[in-house]
Symmetry: C2
Subunit: 147 residues, 2 copies
């Protein structure tokens, strides 16, 4: 019941790509890792998952890098986290072989509504939202100096 470091890195890295979306040219993992203050080689593993989920386009070779596969409005936190987290939603139900009715009841009464709620909440947050909020926040950062 926790978003992993990888998940956080994914959200952060994708927001960086969103900020760069109109620029036309890709960002490298090295650049992003430096901005975020995390390991480049670990970030690459995150991108490998994002690539597999077709959320980013990659260019190999010199001057290569990554960019968003779709505009920021069309990529949600759910897209990103379901590409990265193994188990974003439950599926267990094979537990309690001796009491299958109880197992199914837990599935139906607890897990299914929980999954739906998670999916809904995460699908509502787009990269465009994240980027806008980041800019609002960094604004209030700089404003602090002028109070």
């Amino acid at each position: 019941m926790k978003i992993s470091a990888k998940g956080r890195y994914g959200l952060a890295a994708m927001t960086e790509l969103a900020e760069n979306y109109s620029a036309g040219r890709p960002l490298t993992t090295l650049r992003i890792s430096e901005r975020l203050g995390i390991s480049k080689i670990y970030l690459e593993q995150v991108f490998s998952l994002l690539k597999r989920a077709q959320l980013v386009l990659s260019m190999k070779g010199s001057q290569g890098g990554y960019q968003l596969a779709r505009p920021p409005e069309e990529i949600t936190a759910y897209d990103i986290l379901s590409a990265i987290e193994l188990t974003l939603t439950e599926t267990a139900s094979e537990a309690f072989e001796k009491l299958p009715a109880l197992g199914r009841a837990i599935e139906k009464t607890v897990y299914a509504p929980l999954d739906a709620a998670i999916r809904e909440a995460l699908s509502a947050a787009t990269l465009a939202d994240l980027l806008a909020e980041t800019e609002r926040e960094s604004h209030s950062d700089t404003m602090m100096f002028y109070i």
Copy 2:
């Protein structure tokens, strides 16, 4: 982003207690563990957490055991899982020291709505619901023989 075995056991065990609620006398961990087909000693650890959260009353000694501290309508899956799972909701935000605005934006745009959605979904499911659904399900189990 996953409900642990302990969490599942907690939900199942509490549903057993709910079924026994009107009986007046407590159920033992041994009895429950046998019905669920899980280890007694492990289940005891689950009950230690449920006890700490004051969701169950315990009676020591012979003829002792556990029973619900409140009626099944007044105990939710959220109560149970937040007593058992260490991290049911996020709190991280100290990540990304170098980009605090981004950290706060992720917190505000993704984590906070996610936590609220989880809390809401789990609070909507009571032990009474779970019990009713279990009975409905076991009904359809037995009905299978008569088709």
